[in-house]
Symmetry: C2
Subunit: 195 residues, 2 copies
Amino acid sequence: MAKRGPYEKGEAKRGEILHAALEIFAAEGYRGTSLRKVAAKCGLSLPGLMHYFDSKEDLLAQVLRVRDETARVRQVERGDPQSYREIIREAARTPGLVELFVSMAAAAGDPAHPAHPHFAERYPVLRDRVAAFVRGRVDEGRISTLVPPDRLALLLIAVADGVQLQWLIDRSTDMEQPVEDLLAILDPGQGPEAS
Amino acid sequence: MAKRGPYEKGEAKRGEILHAALEIFAAEGYRGTSLRKVAAKCGLSLPGLMHYFDSKEDLLAQVLRVRDETARVRQVERGDPQSYREIIREAARTPGLVELFVSMAAAAGDPAHPAHPHFAERYPVLRDRVAAFVRGRVDEGRISTLVPPDRLALLLIAVADGVQLQWLIDRSTDMEQPVEDLLAILDPGQGPEAS
DNA sequence: GTCTATACGACGATAGAC
DNA sequence: GTCTATCGTCGTATAGAC
């Protein structure tokens, strides 16, 4: 055991940088936030920071990945409306990160973009999880079978993503309501189903 | 009538610039496309181009506005699913402009951003139009009244916007299907309703 | 009003010393 | 692993020709 962990300190520093970047982006938005500012917050020069990342876009992509993972850990991968509510409520507290997410999604359309793999994996996984939830409700007879679960999953995610655009413009927009509305529409039996 | 139009030639040139920028963004995406490149395409120097716009973001915002207007003129403001289909099919042909739209929506969250007024006006107008369409269907008994029309309008627009994010990552995603699915779910009477 | 030339500051990125 | 120094390019600002 001559070597303890591949990078030991390096990994810690990388995590510290990502955390600092996340804080800054959450506070000021990521637009107009330079890497030099992030570096300064970490007590580093710009090249010192760039030692840990291939490019700015690469750092941004990793910030998003970390963000996604912490959110996921906290909600234990349930993929149901309740975990959605918690995610959306925290999003509403950090507009800068919502802006980051949307901007990155746009940029990640380019397959060469550092964040492309993240989204390319994230969406199918998310759809599968939501589809599983939908199938559970179908089995309970609480969702109409008119549209198959995988298409419903895509639809639900589209609503959740799309409402963020309207919220970014008008912060009084309720980001939870549309998904709840859609679930209500899907549920033919509506009312309280005791046991 | 001593003065013919406020700027006559200037307005024409401005339009030419916007058209050129739209073409470039559609072809190469707007990321990594510099204003100098746009200026060159118009046979102008950079400052020559900037004579017509307050800033890069201002130009971008106007590109988006022009894009919106041409789409609107062509579809005569109907706000129904058929006009939506036409819009979405053209969007699928110009990924760069979809990317531009999404990125601008993210940036326009800042009230000081040049594109903020555009979105701040666009969404309410769009919602009203879609809500009107929804009310029409409700009157025909072709939409469940469980969720009020204005909330349904917001929901429909969220779907349309949100599916674009998934499409940007995976271009094989069907951008029309989710809205059709939602309308199908909303319609209790489904089948062909002859007269 | 329209446009060129020039320059400025800040950015992300890289080379090479320590 | 981190620095100083430097590079090329970006958006922007100003001066002034026509």
